[in-house]
Symmetry: C2
Subunit: 329 residues, 2 copies
């Protein structure tokens, strides 16, 4: 079913206020959850809200924690998130990175002891809205084996790269696993095969069967050995730059809380030439003949805008069962 954005937002806010969130922080968190559903990222919108609430009740997320500055040098800074809501810490850090980049051209803000930031793209859009290039990434609990291994030792460590553009920002928002466990579960519940191999079965053969991958705990990193290396390096950067907890440390603690994140911002030349260069790249990419008749090539973020427009006009799609669950909280 579809419901108006404002209704979704105010329902989230009601629940958060009942859990001791301040008026301001409840509003900020509610807006981000509602925006994620509005943009079609249901897994980190409504569908994730009950888990977020559970984490608050379990003390893994501290509603009113404020980040504090731990150190800094030039255009880089380290912050401690004190287990505050990941979306608020994330928004704070990207805002800090935007301001530092305005002064220094480029900046890097790293934060430790923060929490799941829900949709990583949120902070990419934030940078792009401010006219900035935004690059950010987070570590996670281990959910993917390294290349050549069978036990999960790497996070899927989402990476976001955003480039501002008048006609619609380019926002790449990707986890380093080919399919998230959320996606695997979705295909499994529909009794469908994955469109492409997404992991290994217990014999070590590539498979498109989501249930088999969930059982083997061996989802594929993008690009096989390449994604395995990329995930490791993103964890190294997030941990070293924030002096925080690594995927190893988060995993050993048992719950995905207290993760480490990095927010890099770069100030592009905002002139006409930049706009021309961006359009040249996008139109050249789109000029490839589509694989399927009537098909088209999309840039990262393009479909988000389409979904957003639709949600605003027709209401935000929600899973009825989860929506009822949230209304009952």
């Amino acid at each position: 079913m579809n419901i108006p954005f404002e209704k979704l937002r105010s329902e989230f806010k009601r629940v958060l206020l009942s859990l001791g969130f301040s008026e301001e922080k409840a509003g900020q968190c509610a807006t981000i959850f509602a925006q994620n559903s509005r943009d079609g990222v249901h897994s980190h919108g409504l569908n994730r809200f009950p888990t977020f609430i559970q984490y608050v009740q379990d003390g893994l997320i501290v509603a009113e924690a404020e980040p504090t500055k731990e150190g800094g040098f030039g255009a880089i800074e380290q912050w401690d998130g004190h287990l505050g809501p990941g979306m608020l810490n994330g928004g704070f850090c990207m805002n800090r990175a935007i301001n530092l980049a305005k002064e220094n051209g480029i900046s890097c803000v790293a934060i430790k002891n923060t929490n799941h930031w829900m949709r990583g793209g949120t902070y990419g859009w934030q940078a792009a809205e401010a006219g900035m290039i935004g690059i950010c990434f987070t570590n996670t609990i281990a959910n993917m084996p390294p290349w050549g291994g069978i036990d999960p030792r790497l996070g899927n460590n989402p990476l976001i790269i955003a480039v501002p553009r008048k006609e619609g920002h380019v926002v790449l928002d990707m986890a380093i696993s080919q399919y998230s466990f959320g996606k695997l579960n979705l295909y499994k519940s529909k009794n469908e095969q994955l469109p492409l191999p997404g992991g290994y079965d217990s014999q070590g053969d590539l498979t498109t069967d989501p249930g088999v991958i969930i059982e083997s705990q061996r989802p594929l990193p993008i690009g096989f050995w390449k994604g395995s290396g990329l995930s490791l390096v993103l964890d190294l950067l997030a941990t070293v730059l924030s002096q925080g907890r690594s995927t190893a440390d988060v995993t050993n603690a048992g719950s995905e809380s207290g993760v480490s994140q990095v927010f890099i911002c770069i100030k592009p030349d905002g002139g006409v030439k930049t706009e021309t260069l961006i359009e040249e790249i996008i139109s050249y990419t789109k000029s490839s003949r589509p694989e399927k008749e009537g098909g088209a090539i999309y840039y990262p973020g393009e479909n988000t805008l389409r979904t957003r427009e639709k949600s605003i006009q027709e209401g935000v799609w929600v899973d009825e069962k989860i929506w009822k669950q949230v209304q009952g909280l």
Copy 2:
């Protein structure tokens, strides 16, 4: 056959001197080509040398060109490479980025009108040797279709991320295509199938047949749609930050010359805690049970050190035919 590093280096230098390179620049280029072969990256060592020489003779690479500063703001700078040798421009830019990061914590040096930097890892090792985190990438000629398309419109835009580490730097050096055309040709010449699907056949089905992929011109980006987006975004960053030529522009010109590159440097906290965090991440990753008995998990860069050691002790392996060709230049 194996030959001593010094012999390889001096042979390269001899040829470069005969083409009008100065003593200094000939030495620098020769060293990098020899180092690439020494580290096992033959495709960008000896094997690439004849092509490099051809590019110099064709005027696509200008031996004695010096980079000039075009602009800058805070810790970001733009340079023009004036079609100089890509390795010299690359080394210059990473050195500039290292110095800027020493002052500002983080820095970004972008260069336009430069040339193929050969092994991207060279500049990652350079940053790590200076105790810095290095992130760099380049655009290339179009050699890969965007997701959903069949005509090559994206470069394989190599991405390098290096983290300094006493016991051996971690250096991720990866192109965004799953297999390079060099690798595809290597498998084809040995009449072997790829270990994993590397592209599409003319019917649009995934295949491990290298010859079929070379014919279809449809190699796979890592992570399918994810690598397609990543490649596009890296081209956007390289082009926008350097105000240089995009993959579209380079491709339309017909030769892979005058590309755009970005060198980002970050100064990590070099204390004991950082070392401990890095070791924790690496040892946790390696603790995964190997897929095959007797197998092991390696971090990016680990095998490079092994190959380097072997080359120093036993001589650098060279393809005899190409070695003779270079001796005859």
